[in-house]
């Protein structure tokens, strides 16, 4: 059957992650959360270490680590340090501590590269089910909370006046972010997840006039990047995850140029 071909499975995995990352990536860009995404993704390494140490399934451990990181950042926010400093400390600490923890479990050292840069060509049918399940959950969540989240992003007080609690909406966003991190690990790896969130959304910005169009555009750029990146990886025998991100960057640049040529809008 079709899914027996590893390239088909890889393509479907890439498309699933691209679709889930698109609406979320727009919020990451609008709310200036790029480094927040980075920190959440790096925390996933800690989650992997935890899962290996305690022989737990990886997926829930990664979600838990990502949520814990998001929660810790929220707690420390506004305590006299700049957000970028805070996230820089947290993101790199999580990554380094995760790497140290994984290395202490010496028998799994070989898998490390897979977690850091993804292993999309090794996606199993079961992985595919998890990726598409997670992607569907994120898209459903985003569709459900879209308007309140958008208003809370524009101005928290406007949301308040309309009876929307901006902090609760932020929680939905954080939860979606943790889910995307968890399902994207297999595809691009911990180090490049944030790229998949930010780059397609940035590429779509110059081409659109509404938030919805930007999410669609980001999805199109992300999907196209996944497919062309995989194809390039096959053609030039390069690592798949970084190839996908490179393809996304090229498309993003094209989008920015096209946007600039069409003038301010």
């Amino acid at each position: 059957m079709m899914l027996d071909d590893f390239m088909i499975r890889a393509a479907l995995a890439g498309l699933g992650v691209a679709i889930a990352a698109a609406p979320l990536g727009c919020f990451v860009v609008w709310r200036r959360m790029a480094y927040f995404g980075e920190a959440t993704a790096h925390a996933a390494v800690l989650g992997v270490a935890l899962a290996l140490a305690l022989s737990l399934p990886i997926l829930p451990a990664v979600i838990l680590a990502a949520l814990t990181m998001a929660w810790a950042v929220t707690l420390l926010r506004g305590r006299g340090y700049g957000m970028d400093t805070l996230l820089g400390v947290m993101a790199h600490t999580a990554l380094a501590a995760g790497l140290v923890a994984v290395s202490l479990l010496s028998d799994v050292r070989l898998d490390l590269m897979g977690f850091l840069f993804g292993d999309i060509l090794a996606v199993s049918k079961q992985d595919l089910g998890v990726i598409w399940g997670g992607a569907a959950a994120v898209v459903a969540l985003m569709a459900w909370r879209w308007s309140p989240l958008l208003l809370a992003t524009l101005n928290p007080d406007l949301a308040r006046a309309a009876g929307i609690d901006p902090r609760r909406e932020e929680l939905w966003l954080t939860l979606s972010l943790a889910l995307v991190v968890a399902v994207a690990i297999k595809v691009v790896g911990v180090l490049l997840i944030a790229a998949l969130l930010v780059i397609p959304a940035a590429g779509a910005r110059g081409l659109v006039r509404t938030p919805e169009a930007m999410a669609m555009g980001a999805g199109a750029i992300g999907g196209l990047a996944a497919l062309s990146g995989l194809w390039a990886a096959y053609l030039f025998d390069t690592p798949a995850g970084p190839s996908i991100v490179c393809a996304a960057s090229a498309l993003c640049l094209a989008g920015m140029l096209a946007g600039a040529l069409r003038g301010p809008r």
């Binding site: 609008w30 524009l154 949301a159 308040r160 910005r205 509404t210 809008r265």
Partner: protein, 248 residues
Amino acid sequence: MTPVISARDLSVHLDGRRVLHDVNVEIAPGEIVTIVGPNGSGKSTFLRALIGAVPLTSGRVDRAPDLRIGYVPQKLALDATLPITVQRFLSLPHRIGKVEAAEALARAGAPDLATRQLMDLSGGQFQRVLLARALLEKPQLLLLDEATQGLDQPGSAAFYQRIEQVRQEMGCAVVMVSHDLHVVMAASDRVLCLNGHICCQGTPEVVADAPEYRALFGTGTRGALALYRHKHSHSHDHPHDHSHAGTE
């Protein structure tokens, strides 16, 4: 008459600093109330407390059941990364049709803006779009936080006349914060002078004569207020005295 919203013994601390204390206010249906006060006197915080955006240290805010609030914030920092048309902005959080949006824009004095990007609007256009969005909620209470910031004097006079018109058409109570003392006081039924607590309140004439108000704003306002009352239906050049020492 049952108030649409009331604050009782309201106190608010922000970052450990006491911003508001012992504030007692009742807003009656359909009245226009203006809040004046120096910088840092807690005017914006008071409005934000009314919509529930700041935690109260003590006291309470009571709203009429199912109260619909239209809120126009002091400043809306638009992020250039977020593309959005006026029509889409008006549809947040509830979808509205083009006809309804056009009506609200016309009522707010900003027709023909629906397809424009929010980012591209001038300050005055943007304030009117914010007002249109607030009106779409069919508010029983309209809260305006320095809504005329960035407008020139004729512009803000026109804006307040529009507010009065909106009040007549929709019957909503209006609470506004402003720096344009003369203009705004003349357009109000009641003025609250706020400086951490309510120093004095009453009709514009009463407040302009109150010693607490004069201590904050000087005595220049009285004459300008009378002038404004007398002249404001004409569109001559503006006879206001701008040397009101002590205002911001």
